[in-house]
């Protein structure tokens, strides 16, 4: 059934596209945090806490995409 194929492609696009933005953002955040840690090792603990917080907010976007993908896959019959 062609509709199932379209839903499958939509699911793949939902998770595939939604990883690109957060992936780039997380890479940028992590690289900056590591630079900061290298420059100021004594502030590493604080930087790590805010880094994980920032990563969690970006991660949420990917998770929304993953959820949409799961919902679409659940519609395939």
């Amino acid at each position: 059934m062609p509709l199932n194929g379209i839903i499958a492609i939509a699911a793949a696009l939902a998770i595939g596209l939604s990883t690109i933005g957060p992936g780039l953002g997380q890479g940028k955040a992590a690289s900056s945090a590591m630079e900061a840690m290298g420059r100021q090792p004594e502030a590493a603990g604080e930087i790590r806490t805010s880094l994980i917080l920032a990563l969690a907010f970006m991660e949420a976007l990917t998770i929304f995409g993953l959820l949409i993908a799961f919902m679409l896959v659940g519609n395939i019959n």
């Binding site: 917080l53 969690a56 998770i63 919902m71």
Partner: protein, 236 residues
């Protein structure tokens, strides 16, 4: 729209077993029984550790004291020593509870034994936890500041009121979806890899599961602490 909800229900119930038991017409799912197991474990360990308290702690008591101290230090960094002590019971309970629930997926037989599964891999449990944080935040806010707590909905400008309301509603939504998505996704990856190649190959996924289980419990507690901190923060 209706199909959407059917889809999310299917996704959330994928791998869901038939109800384990029925008590007074209420169906008890495997998620509930797993949560009972976690509760019994936590209560039992705490009871054993605190039954015979000593000034110079050793063994189990020592370990639990270490856990409590580390959690208190971490919360003090976020919201200050005084507040951390005040809201410690709720936040520490949430952290330990979520951590042990996430690690349920590492138990042998989890997912195949009918009454044992990962409770946080269903949306119902994570939404319940997020609603706990939501109500606790506003309760503490009103308790701390009285009616002037509602002023922050009209700041910085009164016409931003709808946006502030949306923000408050999005908080528990993203909190629950983040936890659910991570744990459920982790479980799915493990199951998929296992069904393809049962030996060795799923191992990295399980190591990642250990890491993500801890990080998600950490993030949930951190965000709850920050929400409570901002809700009870005085304007001075």
């Amino acid at each position: 729209m209706n199909k959407l909800f059917v889809g999310i229900a299917n996704a959330a119930e994928a791998g869901h077993h038939a109800p384990v038991a029925t008590i007074f017409g209420i169906e008890i799912s495997s998620y509930t029984t797993s949560m009972w197991l976690v509760m019994a474990l936590l209560i039992g360990v705490s009871f054993l550790a605190t039954r015979d308290l000593k000034w110079f702690a050793s063994g189990l008591q020592n370990f639990l004291e270490l856990v409590v101290e580390k959690l208190l230090n971490f919360l003090s960094e976020v919201m200050g020593e005084e507040k951390a002590r005040k809201y410690f019971p709720y936040l520490a309970t949430v952290f330990i509870f979520i951590l042990v629930m996430n690690y349920c997926s590492l138990l042998p037989g989890s997912g195949t034994i009918s009454w044992l599964t990962t409770p946080t891999s269903t949306l119902s449990v994570t939404v319940g936890l997020a609603l706990c944080t939501f109500s606790v935040t506003h309760f503490f806010g009103i308790k701390e500041k009285g009616l002037s707590y509602f002023k922050h909905f009209f700041q910085p400008y009164p016409f931003l009121f709808p946006l502030n309301i949306v923000e408050e509603i999005v908080k528990p939504l993203s909190l629950s979806l983040r936890l659910f998505g991570n744990i459920f996704g982790e479980k799915m990856i493990g199951m998929t890899l296992f069904s393809m190649i049962p030996l060795i190959v799923p191992l990295p996924a399980y190591f990642l599961g250990i890491l993500f289980g801890a990080i998600q419990a950490y993030v949930f507690t951190l965000l709850s602490a920050i929400y409570i901190h901002t809700a009870t923060d005085g304007h001075h």
